[in-house]
């Protein structure tokens, strides 16, 4: 009788041990699954934002407001007009405080218009050739390209990204030439396009 009881106790002990191991494995599996799902979702978000970056890149690359033209119609692909860039920066008040500006409402409506096209992104132009000379700066935005600054910040919705907690961004580069109609010279550089997004990790 006593022996039988002990045997039964051992069996119950065994069953409990198996159950503990089983639940431990189940919990481990579940944690692994959740982590994998999270990584998968993060990857999907990243892939979508990469796609969005490509879309924004395409839009800015073919934006007719900035492209070089010769005569009245022919567009030169891969070339931006310096004066048109400066005009757009002026219209959007990029990298400038617009509070108190007499055209504040116009600038805000311009920003809204380009927000529909370029979304929560930032578009900068970095010059490469000719190399920016020491002390060179962009008068319209007070940037110093010889110290690593871009020559122009064309569009900037990074403050919107900060406000909505979008800390991650996808970067896309596009080589372009910059035409200066005043000197009739073409320089070379690239556009850096940053598209902001909110990842699960942030």
């Amino acid at each position: 009788m006593r022996g039988k009881r002990k045997k039964a106790q051992v069996r119950i002990g065994e069953s409990i041990a198996v159950m503990i191991v089983f639940f431990f494995m189940l919990m481990f599996g579940y944690a692994f699954y959740v982590k994998m799902e999270q990584n998968g979702m993060d990857r999907t978000i990243k892939a979508n934002s990469q796609q969005e970056a490509v879309k924004v890149g395409q839009r800015i690359y073919y934006i007719s407001e900035l492209q070089c033209t010769s005569g009245t119609k022919i567009v030169k692909e891969g070339c931006f007009d310096k004066i048109k860039i400066e005009m757009l920066i002026d219209l959007l008040g990029t990298n400038k405080s617009i509070t108190g500006n007499p055209y504040e409402s116009v600038i805000r409506s311009n920003r809204d218009y380009y927000f529909n096209t370029l979304g929560i992104s930032k578009v900068e132009f970095y010059p490469l050739f000719p190399t920016p000379v020491a002390g060179a700066y962009t008068p319209v935005q007070d940037l110093k390209p010889d110290r690593g600054d871009p020559l122009y910040i064309i569009y900037d919705a990074s403050d919107m990204a900060t406000n909505s907690g979008m800390e991650s961004y996808e970067t896309l580069h596009m080589p372009i030439s910059l035409y200066d109609p005043e000197t009739n010279r073409y320089s070379f550089g690239y556009l850096k396009i940053m598209v902001y997004y909110k990842s699960i990790g942030t």
């Binding site: 892939a47 490509v54 692909e77 080589p175 372009i176 070379f188």
Partner: protein, 197 residues
């Protein structure tokens, strides 16, 4: 007899659980291997775009050392073979050479336009701009990594993105394609591009 039957049933159950766990594991592996493939496709798309944008924009660049001629005009000059545009010979004295230290148009494009863009962004490519679509008469040859290990063009770099290294197994994907380059004054050139990843 009954106990033995029950025991074997339990063992079968254990096996079923193990098989089920293995299948779940396999499912995970298959799923993630497909995701990795998708990323490569996207990268190759943006690399292709960058090369095409580079070829479009490079043509307009003004070279002050060549009487303010554009790269396009210099390419046409190389195409004609007459070298009408005179350049500062310390900057550009010929069209191309296998020595990257020679002051050629090829070295100029590589050092001033490519080093800070495609090379910097890790695009592995070869671009051969030629007079004919087959690429037999090259005007410019641009590579990242360089085609030759040492200047002079004797030893081929086994990391270069070229046909000779197609079967080396170094790159999982090699994408060759041609892009016509219509230049000014009715000249047509062809860019033979290879993208490796």
């Amino acid at each position: 007899m009954r106990t033995t039957k029950r025991k074997s049933q339990m063992e079968i159950m254990g096996l079923v659980i193990i098989v089920a766990l293995l299948m779940i594991g396999m499912l995970f592996i298959i799923r993630f291997s497909f995701t990795a493939d998708k990323q490569t496709l996207k990268k190759s798309y943006s690399d292709k775009e960058m090369i095409s944008n580079f070829l479009n924009s490079m043509r307009f660049v003004t070279v002050e050392d060549c009487n303010s001629a554009t790269v396009e005009q210099l390419l046409v000059d190389c195409y004609d073979g007459e070298r009408d545009i005179s350049c500062n010979i310390d900057v550009i004295d010929s069209c191309k050479s296998d020595n990257p230290l020679d002051p050629t148009l090829q070295t100029f494009v590589k050092n001033n336009l490519l080093n800070g863009t495609l090379d910097q962004w890790g695009v592995v490519y070869s671009i051969r701009i030629s007079q004919d679509a087959a690429g037999t008469i090259p005007i410019l040859e641009l590579y990242n990594p360089p085609k030759y290990i040492r200047p002079g063009g004797l030893e081929i770099n086994d990391k270069a993105c070229i046909e000779e290294n197609e079967n080396s197994g170094l790159y999982s994907k090699i994408e060759p394609y041609n892009a016509p380059m219509p230049l000014g004054s009715g000249t047509n050139m062809y860019a033979k591009i290879m993208l490796c990843s």
